[in-house]
C-alpha cells in the first residue's frame, strides 16, 4: 500500500516534466506550422543549399 503513495508521486513528477517539456515546445514554436515541415526539403534557401561539390570542398 505504501508503494502506491511513492509511485503516484513519481508518476506526478514525470507528468510535471512532460508538462514543462510541452510548454517549452510551444514557446519555441515547435507546433507552429505542422503543414509546412514536410515541404522543407524542397526549399531552396540560399544559406542552406550546397553548391555543386568541388574537389576538396565539403558540402553542408
Amino acid at each position: 500500500m505504501f508503494s502506491l503513495y511513492i509511485l503516484i508521486i513519481i508518476s506526478l513528477l514525470i507528468a510535471a516534466g512532460a508538462f514543462l517539456l510541452y510548454i517549452w515546445a510551444v514557446k519555441t514554436g515547435q507546433f507552429e506550422d505542422l503543414e509546412e515541415t514536410k515541404y522543407q526539403v524542397f526549399d531552396e534557401d540560399d544559406d542552406e543549399v550546397p553548391t555543386k561539390p568541388q574537389n576538396g570542398t565539403k558540402t553542408k
Binding site: M1, I8, A18, F19, I23, V26, F31
Partner: protein, 827 residues
C-alpha cells in the same frame, strides 16, 4: 497627492517620505515617484495612452478620479500621433484606423464594445468583426482622440491596438500559440486528474481507505490549481471583464461552472467530507479551449488566402527627374511624376503609360490570368505586374488613392461588416445568457429541494455549460468569412453583409446596354465594296491616318481596323472634318469623302442605288460609313458596338435561375430592339431612348412593385439608377467610380460574375441559416437534457464544444458547395 510629509508615488501609489521621492515634471505637471523604475513605467504607460490605469487604481485607494490624466497636452497628442501615424488614415479631422481588439470571445463581448464605444461623442463608425476581432473606427479628431478611445476600450477590459489590415497574421499566430500552450496544458492536467478521479469513483462504490482517499483528493486539488488558473486564465479573465462591463458573455457561464466545481471540491477536501469534482473543473476548461483552438485554426486558414496581397507591396521605384533616373521611396512619389518600370516589377501606383508597350498581369485584382497588352495612353493599375518590357508612365494616383489600396480597403470592410441577421443574433444571444443563468438557478433550487445538494450541484453546472450560446454567436460570422473569401477568389467583391442579404433576394435584373451587354467599343464588322478599280490598300491606309485627326468612336474603329495595312501609302492632304458628318481629304490622285449620307449629299455623291444596304445596316443597329472616291461611292463600312461574348450565356443562366431580365438603354429604339433579337429577349423586355433620370424612374417603379432589383450598368451615366437599385454593379474598367457606386464590385469586369455573385450569396446565406438552425436546435434540445440531470457536467461541456466545432466545419464546407455548384453551372 500630499499626505503629511509623505507623498503617493504616482505610479505604484506607495506612500513615500518626501526626502526619498523623485520629483520629475512629466508633460508640464510635477509628478512624484518612489523609484526610477516607477518613473519609467509611468512615462511608458502615459505614452501608450493607458492613463486610466491610474484612475482605476486611485478609485481602489479611495482617492477619487483624476480627470486631468486623460486630457492630453498638445505635446502628448503630438507624440501619440507620431506613435500611431503610420496606422491612421484620412486627412482633415475625420480619421480612420483599423484596430485589433484582444480578449473578445463571443457575441456579447462584441456587443459590449460596440455599445460603449459608439456612444462616445465624436465616434462616427465602429464595427467589430466577431470572426477576426478586427475593427474599423472612424472618428472626428476635434471631439475625441485615438488615445481616449483606446483608453475606454482598455477600461472595459479589452486591449485594442492599431494595425495594418495586411499585417494581421502575426498577432493571430501569437494568439493561436498561446491557445496551443493552454490547451495542451489543460489536456495533460485533465488526463491525470481524470485518472485519479476514476480511482476515487471506484472508491466511492467499493469503499476505500480514507487515508488513500484524502491523499488522492489532495493531489487532484494541487494539479487542478494550474489547470483552472493557468490553462483557464483567458476564460477567467474574459469572465471578469464581462462582469465589470455589466454584459455577461459565455465566459461567465464557463468560469462560474468551473470555479464552483473547484471551490466546492476544495471545501470538501479541507473538511474531509463529501466528494470532489476536480475532473469537472478541468474538463470544462479543456473542452472550451478545444473549441476555441479549432475556431482559431480555421480563421488562420482563411486569412492565409488574403495574405497573397502582402507580396504586392513595393517600397521603392525608379523615378525619372529631368531625364535622370533615381531610386526613390514610395513616399516621395507624387501625382504627375514619371516612373520607369522593368519587366517583373509590380506597380505600386496607378498611372498612364507615356512611353513603351508591355503586357500586364492584373490577376491579383481581377483573377484573370491572361496578360493584357497596353501601350502609350493606356491606363495601368496598381497591383499589376509588368511582364514584357521596360516602360515609362506618369502617375495618376498614389498611396491610399490607388485602385489597389481602395480594393484592399473594401475587402477589409467587407470582412468587417455585419449583416443585419448577425446583429440580431448578437442581441438575442446577449439576452439569452440571462435566461441561462435563470434556468440554472431554477434547476438547482428544484433538485436541491427534491434530491439534495449532491445531485443538484452538478446539474446546475451542466445547465450553465450546455446552454452556452457560442455556436449561435459564430454561426453567421464564420459563414460570412468563408463566403466572402470564396467570392474574392472568383473576382467578386461583395462590399457588405447587407449587400449579401439583398443579393439573395434579387428577383429582377436590369442591364444597361452600351458598355455592359456590349463592349462599348466600336468595331468595323463588315466592309462592302463596289468599285474594283480603286486601290483599296492605298485608300484605307490614308483613311486610317486621316481619321487620327478626329476624336470619335467611329473614327477610332476605322483607325484600329485599317492601321498596319502594308502597301502603298501616299500620305494625305487637304484634310477637312465635318462634325457629325464625316471627313474629306486628298491622297495621291484620290479625293476621298468618308462619312454618313448627309456628307454624301453635301459632296454630291450618288448613293441611292445602295439605299437598301444602308437601311439594312442601320436596321441592325449598326453604323454605315460611306466612302466615296472622286465623287463615286466605292465602299460602305459597317461599324458596330460588339455584343460581349458572354452576354447570351449570362442571360440564359439568369433565365435558368428564373430571374427576369430587362434592358434599359439610352440608345435608339431600333438598336435596342435589334440587341433584344440577337440575345433572344422579347420586345417588352427592352426599353430604349431613356435618359439617366428615366432609368432611375424605371428602377423606382420596379422597387415600388415589390421587386428586389439588381442593376448592372457602366458607372458613369447610370450612377442614379445604380445607387437606387438594391444591388448596383458597375462594369467600369476597375475605375474609382465603379468601386464607389456599386455594392458588388466585379474585379474581373466580366458578365458571368453577375451570375456568380448571386450564386455565391445564395450559398453563403443558406449556410448561415443552416448554422443558425443547428445552433438553435442544439440549445433547445440540450437545456432540458441538462436540467433533467441526464448529462453529467463533463459531457455537457463536450457537447457544447462539439456544437461550436460543427458550426466551424459546416462553414468550411461552404467552399465545397460553391465549387461544386459552379462546376454544375459550367464555370
Amino acid at each position: 497627492m500630499q499626505k503629511g510629509t509623505h507623498f503617493y508615488c504616482d505610479h505604484c501609489s506607495k506612500l513615500t517620505p518626501e526626502k526619498k521621492l523623485t520629483k520629475t515634471p512629466v508633460n508640464g505637471v510635477e509628478r512624484h515617484f518612489c523609484c526610477p523604475g516607477c518613473e519609467l513605467s509611468f512615462k511608458v504607460l502615459k505614452q501608450v495612452g493607458y492613463d486610466d490605469y491610474y484612475n482605476l487604481q486611485r478609485k481602489e485607494l479611495g482617492l477619487g478620479e483624476e480627470r486631468g490624466a486623460v486630457i492630453l497636452t498638445e505635446e502628448e497628442q503630438a507624440r501619440m500621433d507620431e506613435l500611431y501615424r503610420e496606422f491612421v488614415q484620412g486627412s482633415g479631422e475625420i480619421k480612420l484606423v483599423y484596430l485589433k481588439i484582444e480578449k473578445i470571445h463571443c457575441a456579447a463581448c462584441v456587443f459590449a464594445n460596440e455599445e460603449i464605444i459608439r456612444k462616445l461623442p465624436g465616434v462616427l463608425e465602429f464595427n467589430i468583426n466577431p470572426g477576426t476581432h478586427r475593427s474599423k473606427i472612424r472618428w472626428d479628431n476635434r471631439l475625441i482622440t485615438l488615445a481616449e478611445i483606446l483608453n475606454t476600450i482598455a477600461n472595459i477590459g479589452y486591449y485594442a491596438y492599431p494595425f495594418h489590415p495586411s499585417k494581421a497574421k502575426p498577432t493571430l499566430d501569437a494568439e493561436t500559440k498561446d491557445l496551443t500552450m493552454r490547451l495542451g496544458a489543460s489536456a495533460l492536467i485533465s488526463m491525470n486528474v481524470m485518472l485519479l478521479a476514476i480511482g476515487l469513483y471506484a472508491g466511492y462504490f467499493q469503499g476505500m481507505d480514507p487515508q488513500m482517499k484524502a491523499f488522492l483528493q489532495w493531489i487532484n486539488m494541487i494539479m487542478t490549481i494550474p489547470g483552472v488558473f493557468f490553462a483557464g486564465k483567458p476564460i477567467l479573465q474574459g469572465a471578469w471583464y464581462n462582469l465589470k462591463s455589466g454584459s455577461p458573455g459565455m465566459d461567465v457561464l464557463i468560469a462560474l461552472g468551473s470555479l464552483a466545481a473547484f471551490f466546492l471540491s476544495v471545501w470538501h477536501v479541507i473538511t474531509g467530507v463529501g466528494e470532489t469534482y476536480f475532473d469537472t473543473a478541468n474538463m470544462l476548461i479543456f473542452f472550451i479551449l478545444l473549441g476555441r483552438y479549432v475556431e482559431s485554426k480555421a480563421k488562420q486558414k482563411i486569412l492565409k488566402e488574403t495574405d497573397k496581397y502582402d507580396d504586392y507591396r513595393v517600397e521603392t521605384v525608379t523615378k525619372i527627374h529631368d531625364g535622370i533616373r533615381i531610386n526613390s521611396g514610395l513616399d516621395d512619389v507624387a501625382k504627375g511624376d514619371f516612373l520607369e518600370f522593368y519587366p517583373g516589377d509590380i506597380l505600386p501606383v496607378d498611372g498612364v503609360i507615356t512611353n513603351g508597350t508591355s503586357a500586364f498581369d492584373e490577376s491579383v485584382l481581377t483573377g484573370e490570368s491572361i496578360p493584357r497588352q497596353k501601350t502609350s495612353g493606356d491606363q495601368v493599375i496598381s497591383g499589376s505586374r509588368n511582364l514584357d518590357d521596360t516602360f515609362i508612365m506618369q502617375v495618376t494616383s498614389v498611396g491610399d488613392g490607388t485602385i489597389f489600396s481602395r480594393v484592399l480597403e473594401l475587402i477589409e470592410d467587407s470582412q468587417l461588416s455585419k449583416s443585419p441577421i448577425s446583429r440580431l443574433v448578437d442581441q438575442v444571444s446577449t439576452k439569452f445568457i440571462y435566461f441561462i443563468l435563470l434556468s440554472a438557478s431554477i434547476s438547482f433550487i428544484w433538485w436541491n429541494l427534491t434530491s439534495g445538494f449532491e445531485i443538484a450541484f452538478p446539474i446546475a453546472i451542466s445547465v450553465l455549460v450546455i446552454a452556452c450560446p457560442c455556436a449561435m454567436g459564430i454561426a453567421t460570422p464564420m459563414a460570412l468569412l468563408v463566403g466572402t473569401g470564396e467570392s474574392l477568389k472568383r473576382g467578386v467583391l461583395i462590399k457588405s453583409g447587407e449587400v449579401l442579404e439583398e443579393l439573395v433576394k434579387v428577383n429582377q435584373v436590369v442591364f444597361d446596354k452600351t458598355g455592359t451587354l456590349t463592349t462599348g467599343i466600336m468595331k468595323v464588322v463588315a466592309v462592302h465594296e463596289f468599285d474594283e478599280t480603286v486601290d483599296k490598300t492605298e485608300l484605307y491606309s490614308a483613311l486610317a491616318h486621316a481619321e487620327t485627326e478626329v476624336y470619335h468612336p467611329v473614327a477610332r474603329a476605322i483607325r484600329t481596323h485599317f492601321f498596319g495595312l502594308t502597301g502603298k501609302y501616299e500620305g494625305y492632304s487637304d484634310f477637312a472634318g465635318f462634325g457629325g458628318k464625316g471627313i474629306t481629304f486628298q491622297t495621291g490622285s484620290y479625293k476621298v469623302a468618308a462619312g454618313n449620307t448627309k456628307l454624301m449629299e453635301d459632296e454630291g455623291v450618288e448613293f441611292l442605288s445602295h439605299l437598301g444596304l444602308i437601311k439594312s445596316i442601320a436596321g441592325n443597329g449598326h453604323v454605315p460609313v460611306l466612302i466615296a472616291v472622286n465623287g463615286t461611292l466605292v465602299s460602305i463600312l459597317e461599324i458596330a458596338d460588339e455584343i460581349r461574348t458572354e452576354a447570351k450565356e449570362t442571360l440564359a443562366k439568369l433565365a435558368e435561375m428564373k430571374i427576369p431580365v430587362i434592358i434599359l438603354s439610352g440608345d435608339r429604339k431600333e438598336n435596342v430592339n435589334q440587341l433584344a433579337r440577337v440575345l433572344g429577349l422579347s420586345q417588352d423586355q427592352v426599353k430604349g431612348e431613356l435618359s439617366p433620370e428615366d432609368k432611375a424612374n424605371e428602377i423606382r417603379k420596379l422597387i415600388e412593385s415589390g421587386k428586389t432589383v439588381m442593376m448592372i450598368g457602366d458607372g458613369v451615366n447610370d450612377a442614379p439608377a445604380l445607387s437606387l437599385a438594391q444591388v448596383g454593379i458597375s462594369m467600369g474598367e476597375g475605375s474609382q467610380i465603379s468601386l464607389d457606386s456599386s455594392g458588388v464590385v466585379l474585379l474581373n469586369n466580366s458578365l458571368p460574375s453577375v451570375v456568380k455573385s448571386i450564386t455565391l450569396a445564395r450559398a453563403t446565406y443558406s449556410k448561415i441559416r443552416q448554422n443558425l438552425f443547428w445552433a438553435l436546435f442544439y440549445n433547445v434540445v440540450m437545456i432540458p437534457i441538462g436540467a433533467f440531470g441526464i448529462l453529467i457536467p463533463i459531457w455537457a461541456a463536450a457537447a457544447m464544444s462539439l456544437s461550436s466545432i460543427s458550426v466551424v466545419f459546416n462553414s468550411l464546407l461552404l467552399r465545397r458547395t460553391v465549387s461544386s455548384s459552379f462546376r454544375r453551372m459550367g464555370y
